[in-house]
């Protein structure tokens, strides 16, 4: 445990080595939020309007929720796993007395801690600039369920990212391509990080709920907004737990399969 705490601290400090990189990444997040915010602000220009089951305060809270939940769930260092396998750097870790999976999970958590700190400041600044009406969840049960949902979402995303990162075991040149498809296309749209998924027809929503994506951003924010009943929340959290178990097994299986074909190319 002590060595992973050291990894956490070193990884946290490392983020400050490339300050410009980190700040630019956060600036980009804010720009992306601007588009979504003003889009919904324009649609809900009439304060009394209700659409897709949201009022103005709820939809703008959803937009602000995206910043917070994304900082927790979607900010991850494990994107580097693919590159390490593709160019053979993985070998260095295999020789060290450290679990590769735990190592990257620790680095991910470290990155999330930093991103969350920045996201909190950004939300404060954006709130001050944009002055939106926000929905404040006062029920401690809902807030607790929201935090549990975020914690489970972190684990789901980590496993999904790690699995995508294992693709170079078989296709080293596809390292970046696989992540582009998974992170920038599927996760961005199907998780609810761009728009609330309940604007889509019920049939499409049902189909999406068969995948883990809606549980990454959409479901936690729905819990916060109090749009789900107790049974739905418990059911959702149960499905998330089931996904984690399934993805854990899949990750282990692929990791061991991958190690058998790993040739440490480039080393």
């Amino acid at each position: 445990m002590k060595k992973y705490w050291s990894v956490f601290k070193i990884s946290f400090v490392q983020e400050f080595v490339y300050k410009a990189n980190f700040i630019m990444w956060r600036v980009r997040n804010v720009f992306q939020i601007f588009i979504v915010f003003f889009l919904w602000d324009s649609i809900f220009a009439d304060p009394g309007r209700e659409l897709f089951g949201y009022n103005r305060a709820q939809i703008l809270t959803y937009v602000f929720g995206i910043i917070v939940v994304k900082a927790f769930v979607l900010s991850a260092r494990a994107v580097d796993v693919a590159g390490e396998i593709a160019d053979g750097r993985l070998t260095n870790y295999l020789l060290k007395p450290i679990g590769y999976f735990k190592y990257w999970l620790t680095r991910d958590l470290s990155s999330k801690a930093l991103n969350f700190a920045f996201a909190t400041v950004e939300v404060g600044i954006l709130y001050f600039i944009l002055r939106p009406p926000l929905f404040l969840q006062v029920s401690p049960i809902y807030v607790f369920a929201f935090l549990v949902a975020v914690a489970l979402a972190i684990l789901i995303f980590f496993h999904l990212l790690f699995i995508t990162g294992l693709v170079p075991f078989w296709y080293p040149e596809a390292a970046w391509g696989a992540q582009f498809l998974f992170v920038w296309v599927f996760t961005e749209f199907l998780s609810g990080a761009t728009f609330p998924l309940d604007i889509l027809p019920i049939a499409i929503q049902k189909g999406l709920y068969l995948t883990p994506f809606p549980y990454l951003v959409f479901f936690p924010i729905q819990v916060y907004l109090g749009k789900l009943g107790a049974i739905e929340i418990v059911k959702g959290l149960g499905i998330m737990a089931a996904w984690i178990v399934f993805l854990r097994f899949t990750t282990n299986w692929l990791w061991h399969k991958g190690l058998r074909v790993y040739r440490a190319e480039g080393r």
Partner: protein
Amino acid sequence: MKKFMYYLRVWGIMSKNSFLMVASQKMVFLIFLIGKLIRFGLFAVFLIFLLKGSQSLAGYTVNQIIFFFLTFNLIDIIAQFLFREVYRFRPQIISGSFDLTLARPTNALFRSLMGGADIIDLVTIPPIIFAMVYVGAALNPSIIHVSLFIILLVNGFLIATAFHIAVLALGIITLEIDHTIMIYRDLVNMGRFPVDIYREPLRGILTYLIPVGLMVTVPAKALMGLASARGVILSFGVVAAAVFLSLKFWKLALRKYTSASS
């Protein structure tokens, strides 16, 4: 004319090499192509369902909003197709291999900007043009409006070109390209919707300072017959200023190039 043909031939050779490189990695080519198509499709689906529910956005109809979205995509994808080399410029500066570009008889800016056309983006251009013609026809534009739209589209593309030149110049001075180009992309992404949806002062900034509005909103509005004479004149003025300033900036950056690491 002779010089133009010479550069056209050089561009053809460079593009062919770039295409061959991508074609040698069929799997990667396929993943990126599928990814781009899915991303475009998902955003279009989102837009359609959003507008189905809300009926309009900032006073624009569903067809008009889709036309704004398509116009944005066309300019964005053509810029990516032609200027993909900008995304690969940083290693040249860091390693000092930009010296080789400077030593060649072709223009260094031309090579840095257009040295590696992207076939993946090329493949996606025809379907977008087809969709634009289809959606645009439903807006019943006159010949004048279509002509104005095409002229302003060229203007929009020239603004995008000026942005890319500025990013290259900034890259020489600061050694930073990756984030600058992505911030440019984020800003341009704001043009997916008409700038009318943004509040002041953001709307003003997107119209005058970072002229995303002139790049996308004004051309699309021209086709709909909604562009003001002021917007059209401004578009020409901004294009001239943007291209002039970006070229000046490039020349300044070249003087600052230190050829470090070479």
